[in-house]
């Protein structure tokens, strides 16, 4: 074996050297191996290659050599063939001309078995195709952008969700194309992170579809990098969670609503307990006091009747009667409230024609007498119509309580004012005093049954008057307001409508 043979056998490619006529001058071991693998006749030096080649290879080889001779430059041919064992084989053949003085003297044929490369390439192509299909058909929104923010990928699901086709989406800038104004900062933050090779998982993005609907996408953003690791864009993968968001919001609202209802119920329950405890303490104190007085007075009469003058006895009996009527009034108040509470909706006004001015004057006179003439009740009326349809009993409830309160809570000022006016729409009647007043933090509680301000001290009462007033005004479809300055006095303003709708009231 000479030096040339060793050299030839050590190269990767099969090498066959022909003279210009096709006679085999030289070939190496690799060439021999390929001919054997293909099941072709063995190469023999000094023979023409055309005689050795089988029919299926002859045509291609002679054609390639012809081309080489015409072009006088190398020719590269790629062929796939079936080997002797039935496997497909890919061969890359290069024909190189060797020239002397412009004429081809020899032809070098270099053959390389590229089957492995080809298989690998096929596999890559398959993977790439599968991957493309997967992306295209995935039941997820997949959007790719380049480093400048332009859309480079847009799968079918994107079109389903957002309406835009791939053609419409490509080369658009993601942020201008899809985002709502509010979503921009978050989007820019995520893109910036991805371009710095940091992924962001599960962030919500509000986008606008082709149809103009606002949708919520739940996306993950990952950097898109080259083989060398250079980040060249961002890939977004995610789902349209608009319906979920709407559902979530409705759930949140429902929970909020239920919580509020529960809180209201608890508040009502608390209020009921509070009411009961106020009732108990009111009954305990406010009933015990007149009862004590009655008890003392009867005991006094029984024990000392022989020593008492008839006048003194009458005086005591009168006192007992006063205490009894005080208790009876209190009882009536409690029953009024109790009845109203029991059938809150059922209480209706019973309308009749009332001369409001005369009614208020008479009532003021009665109260002046009943309160031992302690306070002057000043009156000032300017009613457009003196008479109106209203409920006398409810009206009486309202103004007895307001006037007696005004007197009761004005120990220092011996005057109270009753001022009324009216127009086509309503009657506005004010009860004003210069009494002890009501602290601001108590104003909203004074209408609760059995509520009594700490201010009242020893002034007796069940804490029911104002709740009765409020109830009566409500039944008459009117309104009740109060303003007060502690130490300077209080004004209650009752506004009642002049007329009622026909379906309302009268029984």
């Amino acid at each position: 074996m000479n030096v040339l043979d060793v050299l030839l056998d050590s190269i990767d490619e099969a090498l066959i050297i022909l003279d210009s006529e096709g006679k085999i001058m030289l070939f190496n071991q690799q060439a021999d191996d390929i001919y054997e693998m293909m099941g072709w006749p063995s190469l023999v030096v000094e023979q023409s290659i055309y005689n050795i080649l089988p029919a299926q290879a002859y045509h291609k080889v002679s054609e390639s050599i012809l081309e080489l001779k015409l072009r006088k430059s190398p020719v590269k041919v790629f062929s796939d063939r079936i080997a002797a064992d039935g496997n497909r084989v890919y061969l890359e053949t290069t024909y190189l001309p060797v020239q002397q003085d412009g004429a081809i003297t020899h032809i070098y044929i270099l053959v390389r078995d590229v089957t492995m490369n080809k298989v690998f390439e096929n596999r890559l192509t398959t993977i790439a195709t599968n991957l493309t299909n997967l992306i295209e058909r995935a039941n997820a929104v997949i959007i790719g952008i380049d480093s400048r923010g332009y859309i480079t990928d847009w799968n079918r699901h994107c079109t389903d969700v957002l309406g835009y086709t791939k053609t419409q989406a490509f080369t658009q800038k993601f942020s201008d194309f899809l985002l709502t104004e509010d979503s921009r900062p978050r989007f820019e933050e995520v893109v910036l992170a991805a371009l710095q090779n940091k992924s962001t998982r599960n962030f919500e993005l509000q986008v606008t579809s082709d149809a103009g609907d606002n949708l919520v996408l739940l996306l993950s953003a990952s950097p898109r990098a080259t083989n060398t690791g250079q980040v060249i864009g961002v890939i977004f993968v995610g789902q349209n969670i608009t319906e979920l968001t709407v559902y979530r919001e409705s759930l949140e609202k429902m929970v909020e609503q239920r919580t509020r209802e529960l809180k209201d119920a608890l508040e009502k329950e608390k209020e009921a307990l509070n009411l009961r405890s106020r009732f108990v303490s009111m009954v305990s104190h406010e009933f015990r006091t007149p009862l004590s007085s009655i008890s003392f007075a009867t005991g006094y009469l029984k024990k000392f009747k022989d020593k008492l003058t008839p006048d003194a006895i009458d005086d005591k009996l009168e006192h007992i009667q006063q205490q009894i009527s005080h208790m009876t009034n209190m009882m009536e108040d409690i029953l009024t409230i109790g009845r109203a509470e029991a059938r809150a909706e059922a209480v209706q006004a019973s309308l009749s024609q009332i001369d409001v001015e005369k009614f208020l004057n008479d009532l003021a006179d009665d109260i002046y007498q009943a309160t031992n003439q302690t306070h002057t009740i000043h009156r000032n009326f300017s009613f457009q119509e003196r008479c109106t349809m209203t409920d006398e009993k409810l009206l009486r409830n309202i103004f007895i309580n307001l006037l007696t309160n005004a007197i009761k809570f004005s120990p220092g000022c011996k005057e109270v004012w009753l001022v009324g006016r009216s127009d086509e729409m309503c009657y506005v009647i004010e009860v004003r005093d210069g009494g002890i007043g009501i602290p601001a933090d108590e104003l909203n509680r004074i209408f609760e049954p059995f509520h009594r301000s700490d201010q009242v001290g020893s002034i007796p009462g069940a804490g029911l008057g104002l709740s009765i007033v409020k109830r009566a005004v409500e039944i008459l479809k009117g309104s009740l307001t109060v303003t007060s300055t502690p130490g300077a006095g209080t004004t209650f303003t009752v506004t009642l409508p002049c007329a009622y709708e026909s379906q309302y009231i009268t029984d």
Binding site: S284, R288, T289, S293, S295, S458, P460
Partner: protein, 122 residues
């Protein structure tokens, strides 16, 4: 025997009832509308017995009893609480403050008179 009684009661009708009963029994009654007024009265007046209400403006009965018990001369004087506030907690509070007796309103005249006489003779 005529004795001096300090009565603290903010309800005028009751104050009148009690004064009449105690005067009929031959005692002298000094009336104060609430605890602070009564403390003022005690500066110049030494009663043999004190009868006090509890729920009153300015100074309530419990505070009043405590203040009396802190006075040098106030340790010995018998005190009756006569109140419409009759729950257990209030009664115990009255006792701890130093009241000699707790009577509930309404109270029978005979029981009141018996209690007054008993405390005055002890």
């Amino acid at each position: 025997m005529s004795r001096n009684i300090l009565l603290i009661e903010d309800t005028p009708a009751l104050a009148r009832d009690l004064t009449e009963i105690l005067e009929m029994e031959g005692h002298a009654v000094v009336h104060a509308g609430h605890g602070a007024l009564a403390l003022e009265a005690l500066k110049t007046f030494t009663p043999d017995l004190i009868i006090t209400d509890l729920v009153m403006p300015e100074m309530d009965g419990i505070t009043f009893v405590r203040r009396v018990r802190r006075l040098d001369r106030g340790n010995a004087v018998p005190i009756i609480i006569l109140s419409a506030k009759t729950d257990e907690v209030t009664m115990r509070e009255g006792e701890r403050a130093g009241a000699s007796l707790f009577l509930k309103k309404p109270c029978d005249v005979d029981i009141l008179i018996q209690s007054v006489e008993k405390l005055l003779s002890s």
